[in-house]
Point group: C2
């Protein structure tokens, strides 16, 4: 079995790299909400309906370790933490906008295709 690692073809194109950062069931949503400003953990959890603590924390940590979001512990008496986009994160969200636009324009087609796949499995 050949190893593909000898020449470090890490990513085929930038998109490929970017996807490693934003893929994850809840990441786009998290970014979407954080783009509105710093948000407390609990607040974020209520915004991203349906996410579990485990998932929210996990994805936030990944985004944090990727330098996309910043965790701020206010070190206050009744535990107070919030999350915000770093400048790096902000630049990412900006680059995401055309894809957002494309998705919005074709939302119905996409939804239809998804249903098609689900039912035809």
């Amino acid at each position: 079995m050949a190893k593909e690692n000898s020449e470090t073809p890490r990513f085929i194109c930038g998109l490929h790299a970017t996807l490693h950062v934003i893929s994850g069931k809840w990441k786009p949503l998290i970014l979407f909400f954080l783009n509105k400003g710093p948000t407390r953990y609990g607040e974020l959890k209520r915004s991203v309906r349906g996410v579990s603590d485990k998932m929210l924390i996990q994805q936030l940590k990944e985004l944090e370790s990727d330098g996309i979001v910043r965790r701020t512990d206010h070190g206050e008496i009744p535990l107070r933490v919030d999350y915000s986009l770093t400048p790096f994160g902000t630049s990412l969200v900006r680059a995401m906008e055309p894809l957002c636009g494309w998705g919005e324009e074709h939302e119905e087609d996409i939804a239809a295709a998804m249903d098609r796949r689900k039912t035809s499995r």
Copy 2:
């Protein structure tokens, strides 16, 4: 007009929708190569190094059912099939460009973050 079902918040934002179409280990690469023009199955397989038949076919089928790529069977004697982007697919690839750009600019940071995650697991 599409009326949104209050019970079906399908997508939070367009990006979320888009991700359903382009996520998949090999899809960005496939799109990347198809963007260069129609490509035969075997040719594509050689381009997307490391992909197995199963995966390549599967992802192509999904992209096809999403209306992103078009499969052309030339009905020729020694089996000849090729894949190309539909106009819809082309518009997607175009919308992907800024994300490609972002990924290219920050490729190193992303790779570093990925390594960080891998080793710290």
